[in-house]
Point group: C2
């Protein structure tokens, strides 16, 4: 059975815990495929075949080889034939993604890894925050948006059920990386005639909390404003 691994919570980011609390090296022991962000919510991370790429707010993409680089939040899994289901998606858009998991996968976590040539991809990239860190909501009020037409690349994304909204953003959360490793980010919109890849349904959700981190242990949850704040910051659930 496949396991999805998540480091920290979206609620902690919302509370301004934007400092790195795990390392690239530690994360890669839990999977070879995933998404996340670097220390200070510096950009959008996409992990593919065990390689870590970071899109930054200046529009660049960096290959992260420093195993000691830290991240405040990440989700990943071990992509393997034994647990992945091959899928082909025609006329793929964010809306199509919502159909991918309508087939009785709405109560569990799922991942997609989809490759192809995209007619259009629109991404945003979180700008790096400096200490004292703002909340994720304040940080993400102004984020650069980048677009490309006719670009070959890969989508890596996760579906989280509504039940877990707050721990993570409910719905699909998808990052893009171009084949030439020059264009990447958090996907806002895309369309592609045909994408092929895999869908993995996870029976196990392993949530790792940075309980050795004082700020994590001591932060106060604002449950009242959490859901609306996440929707504003991440474009989540509703």
């Amino acid at each position: 059975m496949a396991t999805i691994y998540q480091h920290s919570t979206l609620a902690a980011l919302m509370a301004g815990l934007l400092g790195g609390t795990t390392t690239v090296g530690e994360l890669l022991t839990h999977g070879n495929t995933g998404i996340g962000t670097m220390h200070g919510v510096d950009g959008e991370v996409i992990i593919l075949n065990g390689q870590v790429y970071q899109a930054t707010a200046d529009g660049q993409v960096h290959h992260i080889t420093d195993k000691t680089a830290t991240l405040p939040f990440a989700t990943l899994h071990q992509e393997e034939a034994a647990t992945a289901t091959p899928i082909t998606v025609q006329d793929a858009t964010m809306q199509t993604m919502n159909m991918v998991n309508e087939q009785h996968l709405t109560n569990n976590f799922s991942s997609i890894v989809l490759q192809g040539t995209f007619e259009h991809v629109q991404v945003r990239v979180a700008p790096k925050a400096t200490e004292p860190f703002p909340s994720l909501l304040d940080l993400t009020e102004q984020q650069p948006i980048f677009e490309k037409n006719d670009i070959a690349g890969t989508l890596v994304g996760y579906y989280s059920p509504a039940l877990y909204h707050g721990v993570v953003a409910a719905g699909w959360h998808i990052h893009f990386l171009s084949d030439d490793r020059q264009f990447a980010g958090h996907v806002l919109a895309f369309n592609a005639q045909t994408l092929t890849g895999t869908l993995t349904a996870f029976a196990d959700y392993q949530l790792h909390l940075p309980i050795d981190n004082v700020a994590f242990r001591e932060h106060e949850l604002d449950m009242t404003n959490l859901s609306a704040g996440i929707t504003a910051a991440e474009g989540g659930a509703e």
Copy 2:
């Protein structure tokens, strides 16, 4: 680092998924200490030293040795000296329990295993449902309550942060088992002069979902009424 293992979700129970979806044998591979309920929400389960006990609504306690017996919901962990912190609680009550984890443990899952002689223990025991299963809320409207004075026994319980309310009941969820194995249940109230045992703080939360179960895959979440329903059924968060 210690791991807490949970099978299925409280939201699934609320939706009426009361049928067993894991076995005693499978659960015991994930820990030797825990709480849960049997197929049909038949009573209150407490797992201690790898032994499984079930309190039923007729006031009896059964030692479950059948490894194929099924459960719809359970939480457990491996109790061990390497990860547990020895604690002593004076003038212990449910209110004292809320103080146990005020020391910066409110953002992660914790467990307690506490032994001693109790001046008073009040428990309730869920009555077994038959198919077609009602929702947990309907089932728990009428539950027998049992009380004992001057009884030696053990509390096994888990603290879950408010962020996870719905996946599990937020706050403390504690079961009791007497030393003579004749009295057990879901703890509503207790007081004891001195209890000794352990507190374990979990860095990892492993949630296992029964995705091979059609009813689990297909059930619809009622997020609007979930929180209030759980509070009514479990006496949870607020």
